[in-house]
Point group: C2
């Protein structure tokens, strides 16, 4: 047979070409703590010198089926921002400053242009989060992914002083819930969004605007997840932050309860502008409001649980970092369990 | 339509059932530095107190198409060991002790039994490496993976004192290359291995032994990658270790050059027992020896580049940690480039 590895479907030279294109993208995200790579096997990063008792905070996440939209639209340069966002928005909730990020990119057949676009997005996300793209892995798995599909996994490590860990113990009745605006779908609920909008009978085209939009639907569906790191750290600096919540899969009902102490719930009586994409899904999918609320962020991507007397300072800090803030509601006593702990005024 | 998220193919309850089964598996890997999880968004880990100037070392990797064999064989409880091995064997090469590990598991339709088996393997790998399974993500991507396929990505973080980073600068002509035995294929070269053995005309069955084996072929192909962390740290403790090399994709020619200084090469004149699986591939795939060498580990999973006068102490340390060691060869001056820097006596 005279088989070679290349015959079996793996193109090593293509992989090396991609690595060459990645190097400058990663180098541009370097932070002072990063040491030069040694021998190519792993990335090295020192610790910030201004943290007396450093605790590492780490999380991993993917982008989910938002990737399906990117692959259909042939637009790969922003899902990397989503990947970074999903990880760093999580680790900042305990007060950690992200230090570095690694990515895992797997596909059936490696295409350098596609891979480079993906990493360009990851590098942009790292810049927004202030962390270094320290390393990554590109895996070519012939037979695993078809139709140009790929998957992405991200991994972030941050650091926080042990005395400054936001453990939520200060959350109390009367605390104010401040909602920070999302850019749209972010990275959750895409299976339902796709089913309602771009699949099956009456599927809308990706390359044209839908009702109420001035940009093509595909572009709106690919708007990257906002990275809240700088805003969250600024808010913490303002004082009075009791807890932080990243609104992901499950919406407010799925995420807020995790930061509320036992016997407490959230009363959501604020109002805010909901990005148009959500009502499009609601109408075309005939999705009940309760299902919308437990699947999508509906315009609120991050929640700050604030001491009532710190609301103005925290709001100013968030807005100073470029975010849009609304008063979402407040923390109340509650006997409810699970998602029911989040109570809506209407 | 009255669409729900579940209609669109995502089973949230199944995901929660898996999380419940994962918790005790992860808890069993806890190390003293781990803090309790806070709010469920991220994992927290302190630093060892005996490192004066800690530098973090991090790497990510997957298992590759070894997963295809696991999926065909319906045996998912050992690929997690491979996942951990690929990451921790890399970070230990700069002298770092692994602290924690995270995993990303993606599939088309979540099956709790399969997911639990995978995490059981990951937890076992973490125990062998002495690190904590700090967190992970399970992603259900309907439409992305078919035929019961899944993919895995691993992320490891270790720590080393800045003064103890193994940067390879001490490697010199005359250093001895000590080869540490592999358990078999480990996690590389599976696309070629599968093509030669279990696909196409004359494909061998997975559930029966092949020539020269006393166990079913599938079991041999799934033998987990050896985790060399304890052995490597013991060797470093013995003194005289100039560099460490994890032999992965590319075999010795693809990996050894990364730890050899410019103008130097490796002369491989040792001999060792090659696991039977390699000759099976060589014969059935009619694979040229040069291709075998640059695709597979051929029985050597890890290489220690040792000062000549420390060989006995290092060998004793490696064997004391349970490894099998052979004298592989030595470091020589060389004008060759790339893979040609690894020269075989025959």
């Amino acid at each position: 047979m005279g088989l070679t590895y290349e015959d079996a479907g793996v193109d090593i030279a293509e992989g090396e070409r991609l690595v060459d294109r990645i190097k400058p993208l990663a180098a541009a995200t370097r932070i002072p703590e990063v040491l030069g790579s040694v021998g190519g096997f792993a990335g090295l990063c020192g610790l910030p010198t201004d943290i007396a008792d450093p605790v590492l905070v780490s999380g991993t996440d993917g982008v989910g089926t938002k990737l399906e939209v990117a692959i259909r639209a042939g637009k790969h340069d922003t899902v990397g921002i989503d990947l970074v966002a999903m990880c760093v928005n999580d680790i900042v909730t305990v007060g950690a400053r992200p230090l570095f990020f690694l990515d895992y990119f797997a596909t059936g057949k490696l295409e350098v242009a596609q891979g480079e676009a993906v990493v360009r997005g990851i590098a942009e996300g790292c810049k927004q989060a202030g962390c270094a793209l320290l390393g990554g892995e590109t895996a070519e798995l012939p037979g695993f992914y078809d139709g140009g599909r790929y998957d992405l996994a991200g991994f972030a490590v941050g650091v926080v002083d042990r005395s400054a860990i936001l453990d939520g113990k200060a959350v109390a009745e009367g605390d104010v819930l401040l909602g920070v605006a999302s850019s749209g779908l972010h990275s959750n609920g895409y299976s339902l969004a796709r089913r309602a909008l771009i699949e099956g009978d009456g599927a809308l085209p990706l390359d044209a605007p839908a009702d109420g939009m001035d940009r093509p639907l595909g572009e709106v569906m690919l708007d990257p997840t906002r990275i809240y790191v700088k805003a969250a750290l600024a808010a913490i600096g303002a004082g009075g932050v009791h807890a932080l919540c990243h609104v992901t899969g499950g919406g407010l009902p799925g995420n807020l309860p995790r930061v509320l102490p036992e016997g407490h719930g959230a009363f959501v009586d604020g109002s805010w502008d909901e990005p148009a994409i959500f009502d499009l899904i609601r109408r075309r999918g005939d999705v009940a409001q309760a299902e919308m609320r437990r699947t999508f962020n509906l315009g609120i991507g991050f929640v700050v649980v604030a001491a009532a007397d710190s609301v103005d300072a925290i709001t100013a800090a968030l807005e100073g970092a470029g975010e849009s803030v609304v008063r979402l509601g407040s923390v109340e006593r509650s006997d409810a369990e699970g998602e029911a702990r989040v109570r809506y005024a209407s």
